[in-house]
Amino acid sequence: MAHGPAHGLSRWLYTTNHKDIGSMYLWFSFAMFFLGGIFALIIRAELFEPGLQIVEPNFFNQMTTMHGLVMVFGAVMPAFVGLANWMVPMMIGAPDMALPRMNNLSFWILPFAFALLASTLFMQGGAPNFGWTFYAPLSTTYAPPSVTFFIFAVHIMGASSIMGAINIIATILNMRAPGMTLMKMPLFVWTWLITAYLLIAVMPVLAGVVTMMLMDIHFGTSFFNAAGGGDPVLFQHIFWFFGHPEVYIMILPAFGVVSAIIPTFARKPLFGYSSMVYATASIAILSFMVWAHHMFTVGMPFIGEWVFMIATMAIAVPTGVKVFNWVTTMYKGSMTFETPMLFSIAFVILFTIGGFSGLMLAIAPADFQYHDTYFVVAHFHYVLVPGAIFSITAAVYYWLPKWCGRMYDETLGKTHFWLAFIGLNLTFFPMHFSGLAGMPRRIPDYNPLFANWNMMSSIGSFLFGAAQVLFLYIVIRAIVSGRKATDRVWEGSHGLEWTVPSPAPYHTFTTPPKVD
């Protein structure tokens, strides 16, 4: 076990080391973030002005579809799995992940899956063009032939997610150092435990629904075809039974990240630790009971609308508990505002805005007005960009010194933050207004009435994109020539990961530490 990493490419291809695999996940997700970002900028470039300027409508649809798929499955999810790989074993005092070879398999499926997905852009008929939610019959009867490859890519990336989640659960339940009781675990570990449970519960449902699509397309079944007795609405139900827990899969680990960072820079312990754990579990349980709030306009019975509306609004309670806990942690703290803290504070404020627009959308009668407008786009980008993406960014700044033993440049980091912060708000805040004014989502051309809002959004999006290029530069510069980091890195940091040297040795905790 004393061995260091192998030399050359084989280190990465054949590794069983959680830190190597974590790094590969993070770099892969960074690459997908840029790919999905390029798709987004094509969308925003087309929408800069009314009229059709740059791309054909069909290609525009391919861009909205691929942007969503790549960002959800390629950027956000793998980034969090990468963070889990790096941090969970170090936080609980484990020598590695529970099943190290399967861990590497979970990663290596992803480059193949996304090569398959991206290759559909070059296929006859083009890439999937039916939106990332791939509603039938758009994704079955009217889909391009490449839909088959999309389905299989989803199958294998689902297998990757399930194996990754099983590994994380086995690690957390079985690999904790003596004395590391469940209620002593850092909140990041807790949120990942619950996220992994959600993944194992819903990724197979996604596999089931794409299998039904495959059968409808190629083998004559009629799951989603009323002529044979099936129902396109059935697709929406099964998809959102996966899809709603899926959005919490993308945000619960973010809660864990922010709950690690805010206490460090407020120099106070996290306020209400146990209520954070119970709130996370409540959100996860509720996430299985709210899926049809995505389908209020589909023609559900009144009682269905009512039940899903109430259940959805109930989620605001545990979420509110979390927000108040973060704010209370900062209250009367000795705060400093290093880059990870800036991203975390922005997370709390902007995620709350996304939560409020979520509450508006949860009101079924009002949702009939908002449904499929840019208001929805504004809402879910406010929870995903300053939610998931900002927390991942904060996590990278926070733990990068532990990973590579070197500090990033604080001035550049803060510059990145302000550019991203302004860019994101300029991009997505106007969408609330264009949406409320009635601009539908997923269209390449629009009424000139919405021109000003769209121009602002497009300018903001390119600013946000440029900020991410700066981020890449900052990370590389830190790795190559950053100033040496101390073991504690941050004055207010607590937890096992800060007790090992920076950079963390290739193998940590081969004999478990004692936790009091």
Binding site: R11, L13, Y14, T15, T16, N17, P95, A98, L99, P100, R101, M102, N104, L105, W108, I109, F112, A115, L116, T148, F149, I151, F152, A153, H155, I162, A165, I166, N167, I169, A170, T171, L173, N174, M175, I200, A201, M203, P204, V205, G208, L214, M215, T221, S222, F223, A226, A227, G228, G229, G230, D231, V233, L234, H237, I238, F241, H507, T510, T511
Partner: protein, 304 residues
């Protein structure tokens, strides 16, 4: 690294080529299927190549895990990781079936009643009547002989308890239920280190598994040839074949797993009362497959 490892610490395996090859095999398998379904000539060959690499790499991977365990590298903690792994894998399988059961319930209790009543039925679907099993599809109600989505001529519905002895699903249920007991008896025998009895009960379980698959093949041939009941005969055929078909695929997997355990026991002398998780994992899987069948028997066969 393995040679100076002692069981007091958790065994973290050395570098391995197996995961990368597995990922490649998965890719080749699905890429082959995708090209095949889109009518590319080389598709079946790519699929077959992917599948064979997959089989080979799984064999190598499981061999290595067994070898490590027999070499004493796996401490009690690592064995618990495998236990957790198998348990959560079975939970993921439960959720996979949940999607198909959910589809069946939704179709029967919401979609079809909606299609068969009010304006849907009168204005859109030619007076379509909802019944289950669905023999006359909405398409047939509208277009009659011109319909594309044609229902079956016969179905697998419950003939009433008096007719069960001549009803194949009843015998399938019997076979599978008995096999759940025999695999349990095998486990009990193993816990007493009675390997001979273990092999006999396990052998009987494998035989019952194969028997089930024969009966199901019989049922499918009957459905396709005599009843005109196919994957494409409306939503009844779709739900019937997808649920029983995925279950059958899982029985095939489970039988194969138990067969491997039988061969390990008889040919290699593996397993004793305190070191038998390979067998236990396979038996859990078998019980899971059995429970799914009970769900199928109730919701697909009896309640129709």
């Amino acid at each position: 690294m393995a040679h100076h490892h002692d069981a007091s610490t958790y065994y973290v395996p050395e570098q391995s080529k197996l995961p990368l090859i597995t990922a490649f095999a998965m890719f080749l398998t699905v890429f082959g299927l995708g090209t095949w379904f889109n009518g590319v000539d080389s598709g079946p060959f790519l699929f077959a190549a992917g599948f064979m690499i997959m089989a080979g790499v799984m064999f190598a991977w499981f061999s290595q895990v067994i070898h490590e365990n027999r070499a004493g590298l796996n401490n009690a903690q690592l064995k618990r990781s495998y236990v957790w792994g198998m348990g959560w894998f079975i939970f993921s399988e439960v959720m996979f079936f949940a999607a198909f059961f959910g589809a069946l319930f939704y179709i029967r209790s919401i979609s079809l009643p909606a299609l068969g009543s009010g304006n849907n039925s009168e204005l859109l679907w030619g007076g379509f009547q909802n019944d289950w099993p669905l023999m006359t599809t909405p398409d047939m109600a509208v277009k009659g002989g011109e319909a594309v989505h044609v229902g079956p001529e016969g179905n697998m519905s419950n003939p009433g308890i008096a007719g069960w002895l001549g009803w194949l699903p009843f015998w399938n249920t019997t076979v599978l239920l008995i096999s759940s007991f025999t695999v349990h008896f095998a486990h009990t025998a193993l816990k007493k280190d009675n390997k001979k009895l273990f092999n006999i009960w396990l052998g009987i379980t494998v035989a019952l598994g194969i028997g089930f698959l024969f009966l199901q093949a019989e049922e499918y041939i009957h459905a396709y040839q005599d009843l005109g009941l196919t994957l494409s005969s409306g939503i009844y055929g779709a739900t019937f074949f997808m649920l029983t078909g995925f279950h059958g695929a899982h029985v095939t997997m489970g039988t194969f797993m138990l067969l491997v355990m039988l061969l390990r026991s008889t040919l290699k002398g593996h397993f004793n009362h305190h070191d038998c998780f390979g067998f236990e994992a396979a038996s859990w899987y078998w019980h899971f497959v059995d429970v799914v069948w009970l769900g199928l028997f109730i919701f697909v066969y009896i309640m129709s």
